[in-house]
Symmetry: C2
Subunit: 423 residues, 2 copies
């Protein structure tokens, strides 16, 4: 295989390791005495629902409703699939979330609630609490997504503006709950997948308010009133760790970045190439993380330490982009363009960075690739790499080069997959 094929095939191995069809069946429980309600939210929700209903006994009482992103729906027989807005929530998602909450409230203790959560669920399963509107929630979400805040910080806010997340779905349910989770969040804490509808929430209204203020978000009046009232104990807090609410709840991780990186590692081993996993929970500004990795690559190339080439440096997690320009692009193309600039054409270094869900930010590409020739080729095309990076216009950069990686929706999501191949 040539370097590009090695990169692409390692990415495929990483995505396949998070494929619901292979993962879900072994985790499905016994049918309960009563009925089973399947609910779900996330980019993988439809794909997970298909597998669940296909593997569930035909004669058992099963119905359900899951919400996924526009374009991520799939045909189902027993579970309804609705498409809604992501990364910004919309009224469609609000309607589904309200329906889900109502259905869950109807369950009894002989029933079972089977939840299928995956990345994107925080936006898709959006039900603003009484005192705020969908416009308020969307406004705050839009600002948070652009300011470089971590997903943990963003979800702290979401959980305190939601009537269903932050453990509130579990609080509304009398039936035992099993939540099967494909994690796209660094650290793989279930509270951050779909903003934890069935998990205890250790954060507070005051935390949420502090986050909005620290990022200088323009806070809508209704939102400020809710968070302020909540901070003064005038509103109920989200259910906290240790609460009896979670006695009959299991949140089970079935796919994580670590699983996928390990699959990529095995792929490279099969090709006789050593690997090093630099972390499955990498955060930080994409272009700055690229600088730290570029220094490591230079160390490997120049001093043959800490490893001799050839080696594949793997990492996962979720980097951030603080948008300053008005260009197009996601965190993976931002990472790669910064890396290309830092490496400045060093020979024998190739890299790929993609979102395992098939979508880098809000674009149609999963990510992109760089080769030692990337910058040289750009000069011939009269594209200024640094100017495009400064303008967060990294999609355009790789589009012009023909080096975007486009997969379409992968119907799963364990977050970023990055590989730097030093030959």
């Amino acid at each position: 295989m040539n370097p590009r094929e090695l990169l692409i095939n390692s990415f495929k191995a990483a995505v396949n390791a998070a494929n619901p069809a292979d993962l879900i069946p072994q985790h499905l429980p016994e049918s309960p005495k009563g009925r089973t309600l399947v609910i779900g939210a996330g980019k993988a929700a439809a794909a997970m629902a298909v597998v669940a209903e296909n593997h569930w006994p035909d004669d058992a009482a099963l119905d359900g409703i899951v919400v996924t992103r526009y374009g991520h729906g799939m045909p189902t027989r027993r579970i309804t699939v609705i498409e809604a807005g992501h990364p910004l929530p919309d009224e469609k998602g609000e309607q589904v979330a309200r329906k889900i909450l109502t259905k869950v409230q109807e369950l009894s203790c002989n029933d079972l609630l089977l939840c299928l959560f995956s990345g994107g669920g925080s936006s898709l399963l959006s039900l603003p609490i009484d005192k705020i509107s969908m416009d308020d929630l969307r406004d705050v979400t839009r600002q948070l997504l652009r300011c470089g805040a971590s997903i943990q910080a963003i979800n702290t806010v979401r959980k305190h503006l939601s009537a269903i997340q932050g453990g509130k779905l579990a609080a509304a349910c009398k039936a035992p709950i099993l939540a099967l989770i494909i994690s796209d969040v660094t650290g793989d804490n279930p509270t951050h997948v779909a903003s934890g509808p069935c998990t205890p929430d250790p954060t507070t209204y005051a935390d949420a308010l502090a986050i909005l203020e620290s990022y200088e978000i323009k806070i809508p009046n209704n939102v400020r009133k809710v968070l302020t009232d909540g901070s003064q104990q005038k509103l109920d807090e989200t259910p906290k760790p240790g609460s009896f609410i979670f006695n009959n709840v299991e949140n089970r991780l079935i796919a994580t970045a670590n699983h996928s990186l390990t699959a990529a590692k095995k792929f490279f081993q099969g090709q006789g190439i050593a690997t090093a996993i630099l972390g499955d929970s990498v955060t930080g500004e994409a272009r700055e993380v690229a600088k730290a990795y570029a220094a490591l690559v230079k160390e490997i190339r120049q001093h043959h330490q800490p490893w001799k080439p050839p080696i594949a440096l793997l990492s996962g997690g979720e980097t951030t982009v603080t948008v300053k320009g008005n260009g197009r692009g996601g965190r993976n193309t931002e990472f790669l363009l910064s890396l290309a600039i830092e490496l400045d054409g060093i020979e024998n270094v190739y890299a790929l960075a993609c979102d395992t869900d098939g979508m880098d930010g809000t674009e149609n590409n999963a990510g992109a690739m760089i080769t030692p020739e990337t910058l040289d080729r750009t000069k011939k095309l009269r594209i200024n790499a640094k100017t495009l990076l400064a303008n967060n216009d990294t999609y355009r950069f790789f589009d012009k080069l023909g080096d975007l990686v486009i997969t379409g929706p992968t119907y799963t999501n364990v977050n970023d997959y990055r590989v730097i191949l030093v030959l």
Copy 2:
């Protein structure tokens, strides 16, 4: 040794490996037919001058003048030491630079110019070109130091506003030149130590102008005119690679970050602790680089890959801080506080980050240390780590904890030394 002692002693090993007293003698050339003029600039200039004059034949014609930072002077016999401003240039530095340029112009081809350059020289050897004032230069330098620009970018500007840097000292000299260089710049390119008085300069006026504009620097009128005129070929460019000017010039690196990291590696090996050098040229925003390293530490602790503990992760280079708050602190305390927040008290992880010159930014500390207890201890002191980091107030954080590392001037400088000890 306990973890704190391991960290401190590894730092001492790194600094000692860049000690002029041990390095200079082997690099001193034969005396020339004529006289020898020693000039120099940098935080190590006085220390280097002392060693040079002590090892030079007593009967040979030697004199000279070097400029170092306030507080970094040392008693000398034959070479004059002058103290001047750093990191912002001042009139004292301007006077010395003018005197040096004049003395160099008097040399003949039978003489020898011995240059002693080290970190800090770019500011200390500041001679604004005719059309701009020291105030103009200081104004631009102050803004550049605060905007997060790399040292390479800053020096591109300096070289085009200087009458002595960017190869212009070499251009003024008829004698052969030997420059002994202690490198504090990532990549160890001599053009960036003291802004390369004796090296070819590949950059242009247009590059300098583009850098100032990209960081939205308020450009003084005189400076803009110089850079614009230069871009339009109305002024002479700095001497470029390949120019005959450099035929009789040798720039020789005698100490680098790599030497010092290797010395620290040997120290840990002597203690039976494995090491990994993550790069000797790490750049990037200090707090973001810390996030990439925190993910690596978590990978090591949780998954025992890519290394099993115990391991010491070493790195060098020069991170940057984009100042947004009004607190006190340098890039090493900024790196450490971000690292502590990301690690959130993970056990058995210790770290030290120090500038090998003994001064982190403009403070009196070389750097600081963190332990697994750092955040817990802060809570008891009612210090909010995140708030202080947001305000770039990281000196205060470690000062309150008593965890600053204070060495005083080390009289050398191979840039940052970072070690994360995962036990």
